[in-house]
């Protein structure tokens, strides 16, 4: 679907992205991960045919962004980092305009707008002015305009930017719904959000891809084998003994002990959870909670970015 080879973009003398190469297959949901200023927005703008590359080759669906941008524009939906909204229009009026602009046949416009409103849960505000909407709604209208013409590829630049926790969960649910309908490329600097909805991650740092793959692949490559968090009632020693007996568990430590509840962290892949639970129950320990380690991706990300920084300093 997307093939990027040696993509470079300069703003004056400053290279926003350097020699970027990656592939994205049809139907994938790809997370584009990087700190602010890493080059995410620039890359997405090139893919969205808003900016032209300085050098390198970018093809989407076999069409080149320099030679055939119009063919690409018909096939993509793009949400920039600030949703491109006209405040004086109503939500449905705005979506109709965008649908017409993106060459939806006149007879289908109404149906497509209704579909987009339903998908993004905007039906109740369809007649309100865009300018009167709260930030969460505006962001959803931004997503709705990107998908109103049923594009094959959706490019969403920080769709969760500035949303509150409840809205972030809603946005995540919305992107999950889009899986299967579109190929989705979603950028973020928030790790947990992106790891939960994406098939694969591209990590970008200072204009270069520093890692790509599934969450597990990234973890394996960096030697961070993942972790499991366990809470048991009392009996810390017995629990430690039981889990250390499992061959795949590399290490186990007590995180905290409070009111008789002991929290442990195990260096082991998350898939090992049933085995850990069984071992603990068999050893007669009361198991209260078992979960995948929450800091996993965060640590991968920090490791990736720190490795680079130290490499550059050296």
């Amino acid at each position: 679907m997307i093939q990027v080879d040696g993509l470079t973009k300069y703003y004056g003398d400053h290279a926003a992205i350097r020699n970027l190469s990656f592939r994205i297959e049809r139907g994938e949901v790809i997370g584009f991960l990087g700190l602010n200023g890493a080059g995410k927005t620039t890359t997405l703008k090139v893919l969205g045919c808003v900016l032209l590359p300085t050098s390198g080759r970018v093809t989407i669906d076999g069409f080149d962004v320099v030679e055939n941008p119009h063919e690409i524009r018909k096939r993509i939906g793009f949400l920039p980092d600030t949703p491109p909204l006209y405040d004086e229009m109503t939500v449905s009026g705005y979506l109709s305009f965008v649908a017409r602009l993106r060459r939806v046949p006149f007879a289908d416009v109404r149906a497509r707008v209704d579909e987009a409103l339903q998908l993004t849960a905007l039906v109740e505000v369809r007649d309100e002015l865009v300018g009167a909407l709260s930030h969460g709604y505006r962001q959803r209208v931004g997503v709705a305009q990107a998908l109103v013409h049923r594009p094959e590829l959706l490019i969403l630049d920080e769709p969760s930017g500035g949303l509150d926790p409840v809205q972030i969960v809603e946005m995540r649910g919305l992107i999950k719904k889009l899986k299967g309908r579109h190929t989705v490329l979603v950028s973020s600097h928030i790790l947990p959000e992106i790891s939960q909805i994406c098939d694969r991650l591209l990590v970008i740092q200072e204009g270069e891809i520093v890692a790509q793959g599934t969450e597990a692949e990234l973890a394996a490559r960096l030697g961070a084998g993942g972790s499991i968090e366990v809470e048991v009632l009392g009996a810390a020693a017995r629990a430690l003994e039981a889990v250390r007996a499992i061959p795949a568990v590399q290490d186990a430590v007590v995180l905290r002990e409070q009111d008789g509840v002991v929290a442990l962290r195990l260096d082991a892949p998350a898939e090992l959870r049933p085995e850990v639970a069984r071992a603990l129950v068999n050893a007669g320990v009361d198991l209260l909670r078992i979960d995948r380690g929450t800091q996993k991706l965060e640590s991968i990300f920090l490791k990736l970015t720190q490795d680079r920084t130290t490499k550059e300093a050296a």
Binding site: R73, F78, P80, P84, E88, M89, V98, L101, R102
Partner: protein, 241 residues
């Protein structure tokens, strides 16, 4: 071209739904009316044709000013609010964007031009007005308006915000107007060059007198074309930055 009309229609609706367009029109109508009452109608008694000539003279200045203020938002506002990305990522050409924007501002300016019609009709009450004269004058206002809106569109394509856009377009328009004055203090061939370039002067006066010269029509169409062409190039260049 349908995309250009689509953009023009949306843009015109935006003019009609926000107050700034109405404020500009109201202010310009007031100014035009005051000038008409004080200078065209006032003073020593004169023939109707003379009054109409002066009416077109004042209205042309008002039209230029209104065109600059109406067109300042066209592209600068899109850049300011980030909506230009929507147009850039949609299957429309830069030419369609610029032409759509230009048409909407010209359509809105036409409302102002049509609304000035009450003044020559007032002359009709106590005098004689030739409809040919009115037709020529209004054609001149429309052509002058189109050229000014096109310059405004160009200014708006260059600027990051609306104030800067208005200043840029204003400077270009004033420079073209001043050509008329420069022609009187320079020798040939420069005087002829400045005369030919002047936005108002020699090109508008015949319209005000009820005369349509093909060369004046061509001049205004050419200015419009060049300014829009430049605006399209600016939009294209923005993609390379």
């Amino acid at each position: 071209m349908t995309a250009a009309l689509l953009i023009a229609r949306r843009e015109l609706a935006a003019y009609l739904r926000t107050w700034s367009g109405y404020v500009i029109i109201a202010a310009m109508l007031l100014l035009d009316g005051l000038l008409f009452n004080a200078f065209a109608m006032g003073g020593s008694s004169k023939r109707s044709a003379e009054v109409i000539y002066q009416f077109f003279y004042f209205s042309s200045g008002v039209t230029i000013t209104a065109a600059v203020f109406l067109s300042m938002r066209l592209l600068a506002e899109e850049r300011q609010t980030g909506t230009l990305s929507l147009l850039y990522s949609s299957p429309v050409t830069d030419a369609e964007i610029v032409i759509g924007k230009f048409l909407s501002a010209l359509a809105f300016l036409s409302i102002l031009i049509v609304l000035t019609l009450y003044m020559p009709l007032l002359v009709l009450v106590n005098g004689k007005v030739s409809f040919g004269h009115l037709f020529a004058g209004y054609l001149g206002l429309l052509l002058l308006g189109a050229a000014s809106v096109a310059i405004g569109t160009f200014g708006s394509s260059l600027a990051k915000n609306q104030v800067l856009a208005a200043i840029l377009s204003g400077v270009i328009v004033v420079a073209l107007l001043v050509c008329w004055m420069l022609s009187s203090v320079t020798d040939r061939p420069f005087s002829e060059l400045f005369t030919a370039l002047a936005l108002h002067g020699k090109h508008f006066q015949p319209f005000g007198q009820g005369i349509v010269h093909v060369r004046d029509v061509i001049y205004y169409v050419a200015v419009t074309f060049v300014a829009l062409f430049a605006a399209i190039r600016v939009l294209e260049a923005r993609r390379w930055r």
